[in-house]
């Protein structure tokens, strides 16, 4: 069988999928690009061509830079915490103890629940009048009076990060747990005989097998965290005082709350570009780490 025929056949087989992808992703994308060069409103006329005005206005606005900082903070802190907690949970669940199977199954729960359910749950926990967090902290005498965790600019983002971590660490833990199964018993045994303590064992025995899969988890989670919308929308809608407004929320506000379709489209494309850059950078990283553990 000639390789050109193989190539042709591969493309033929993918054709239906390509058609669907062009229709649902490609066309709207092109449309959005066109829209981003106009001053179109959400309703009404198509708007006039304004060149790169939308982009330059958006990039120079303080709203955009503030939101970019908020988004980066949210993504970096929550992903870092998820990675650490996820790996620790995986190491724990990799030990042999009674009830391990049940615990492993329970751990997946936060991740398996729909985000809206999760977000609602955490809103209850953070509730300023009858929330569990207020009750617990008061009983422990850590705070004097009930606080509005999601309503105060100082705590809202942190509260969101905690909720997001709780939802997403199981994914990291699951990936890490699977990777841990690949660590050869003999190497662990050898490191014991060689006198490696828990830290060195993690570094030299476990990490080489964990690095690749964790890299994948890191890529997935960072990109998702950067695009985050749903959990924030349900819990704070970007408030209070825009302290939890992320880029996706800003896109939504621009396009739908303020009905500035053209400007919203330009922002959406900026976000897309940022996420793509992230993905490309990570892909290179993954390729590098994949080579290290044989």
């Amino acid at each position: 069988m000639s390789s050109t025929w193989m190539t042709t056949r591969a493309w033929l087989l993918m054709l239906p999928l390509l058609v669907v992808m062009v229709a649902v992703i490609g066309w709207p994308l092109v449309d959005t690009v066109g829209l981003s060069f106009t001053d179109a409103k959400l309703v009404g006329t198509g708007g006039d061509f304004v060149g790169l005005d939308n982009y330059s206005n958006m990039l120079s606005s303080s709203n955009f830079s503030r939101t970019l900082v908020t988004t980066t903070l949210f993504a970096v802190i929550s992903v870092a915490a998820e990675m650490v907690i996820g790996v620790l949970a995986a190491l724990l669940l990799n030990q042999e103890f009674r009830g391990r199977a049940i615990l492993r199954a329970l751990m997946i729960l936060p991740w398996a629940l729909p985000t809206v359910v999760n977000a609602t749950l955490w809103r209850l926990i953070y509730n300023p009048e009858y929330g569990a967090l207020n009750a617990a902290l008061t009983q422990l005498h850590l705070i004097d009076a009930y606080r509005s965790w999601l309503g105060e600019p100082g705590t809202a983002l942190a509260a969101l990060i905690v909720a997001d971590c709780w939802k997403n660490f199981p994914l990291v833990a699951l990936i890490a747990l699977a990777a841990l199964q690949a660590v050869p018993r003999d190497i662990t045994a050898a490191s014991l005989v060689d006198g490696a303590g828990p830290f060195n064992r993690f570094r030299f025995v476990i990490l080489p097998y964990l690095a690749g899969p964790l890299m994948v988890a890191l890529v997935l989670r960072t990109i998702e965290a950067f695009k985050v919308f749903d959990i924030i929308w349900v819990m704070t809608r970007g408030g209070p005082a825009n302290t939890t407004r992320t880029l996706s929320i800003l896109v939504y506000q621009e396009a739908f709350s303020f009905q500035r379709a053209g400007s919203g489209a330009s922002l959406a494309l900026i976000v897309t570009l940022l996420v793509t850059l992230l993905a490309v950078a990570y892909a290179a990283l993954v390729r590098k780490t994949a080579g290290s553990a044989a």
């Binding site: 003999d186 050898a190 005989v193 006198g195």
Partner: protein, 369 residues
């Protein structure tokens, strides 16, 4: 005082007893091979010595001191694994020096030890590579090097050569022997390869089903197998075992009218009418030339296979089968009726009801000392 002593070691996994009381005492510098088929508990015993598994009962002593409850790193042992077990993202140099690094040995001292081991194992050129860039044989050398630099009281090897191809296995075997002769360290070595056991061991422990079936020098194991199991397990092709009955002071081969003489050394133990298993090594058989004697086995040749150095011949005596390793130019052909013979000293008797060797008396023992 023994370098390594294993006392009454038992090990159970749940209700299954994997080791059923193992006792071994090794002098310093001995090379003990644990030989046995898969699942007989060799690795389990080795792991108990290393401290990687806990015995259900019994004791392990190194230099007269009990090491039960001592952490593996403090047992003064080094271990080489079947899968090499190298640290994948460390260079060969750091792999070999890892045990010293973890013990806080100074860098220059560590380097000296690593270079010395690399020189011994002829892997100096590989020191800056990663394990993934090495062949199986090279990896195993690195694994051995990692054990060497520790300079321990006891080396433990768990089937270190079984992942290598035949030629490399032979090379590494010779190399291990050379290393042991040079270093004179006590070694416990697990294998299910009997050639490896015969060539390397100063003593072999043949294990079966969690017990030691026989403990002795390779010569003892080969020449004086204590049980039918050992007789069948050691030697390739394995020992011929003919059913026979003691009849009129002779051995009557079952389902044939062949009678051979009962060696005098067995006269006391072999009662008239008793069932016997007659053991003769294939290497001890030869084609008879002169007239029939009372050590002649009239056979019909069934299969002749030339392996190179010898002609492996399968023959039938009555309804039983015999294998003989004949010289390559022996004139035998399929279907021929011939007579095979052997020296009386090569004959072994076993009691089929107990599976044990019959006690021999007198001086005719053939162990080559």
């Amino acid at each position: 005082m023994s370098a390594l002593e294993i006392r009454g070691i038992r090990k159970s996994y749940g209700s299954v007893e994997t080791l059923k009381g193992i006792d071994i005492a090794l002098q310093s510098g001995e090379f003990l091979v644990l030989l046995g088929s898969s699942g007989c508990g060799k690795s389990t015993l080795l792991n108990i010595i290393a401290g990687l598994a806990e015995a259900t009962s019994g004791d392990v002593l190194i230099g007269g001191r009990s090491i039960l409850g001592v952490h593996p790193k403090n047992r003064d042992i080094a271990m080489v694994f079947q899968s090499y077990a190298l640290y994948p993202n460390l260079t060969v140099r750091r792999n070999i020096g890892f045990g010293l690094e973890m013990r806080g040995v100074a860098t220059d001292e560590r380097d000296r030890a690593v270079n010395e081991a690399a020189r011994l194992l002829q892997i100096e050129a590989l020191l800056d590579r990663k394990p993934s860039q090495l062949s199986g044989g090279q990896r195993q050398r690195v694994a051995i090097g990692r054990a060497l630099v520790r300079n321990p009281q006891v080396f433990l090897f768990d089937e270190p050569l079984s992942n290598l191809d035949a030629k490399l296995r032979l090379e590494m075997r010779t190399e291990l022997k050379r290393l042991h002769q040079m270093l004179q360290t006590t070694i416990v070595y697990v294998t299910h390869d009997q050639i490896e056991a015969m060539t390397l061991a100063s003593r072999i422990a043949v294990m079966r089903d969690g017990r030691i079936e026989q403990l002795g020098t390779p010569e003892e194991i080969y020449n004086e197998p204590a049980t039918l199991y050992v007789a069948g397990f050691v030697g390739a092709p394995s020992m011929n075992m003919l059913q026979a009955t003691v009849t009129g002071g002779k051995l009557a081969i079952a389902e044939s009218d062949v009678r051979i003489s009962l060696p005098a050394r067995y006269a006391n133990a072999a009662r008239e009418g008793a069932q016997m298993v007659v053991g003769i090594r294939p290497e001890a058989l030869r084609v008879a030339t002169g007239a029939a004697t009372d050590l002649s086995l009239p056979v019909e040749i069934e299969v002749v296979e030339l392996t190179g150095p010898e002609l492996v011949t399968t023959a039938r005596i009555g309804t039983q089968r015999l294998t003989a390793c004949l010289p390559p130019r022996a004139q035998v052909a399929k279907g021929e009726k011939r007579s095979l013979t052997f020296d009386e000293a090569a004959l072994r008797l076993f009691d089929p009801s107990t599976g044990k060797a019959l006690p021999a008396t007198g001086l005719e023992r053939t162990t080559s000392h």
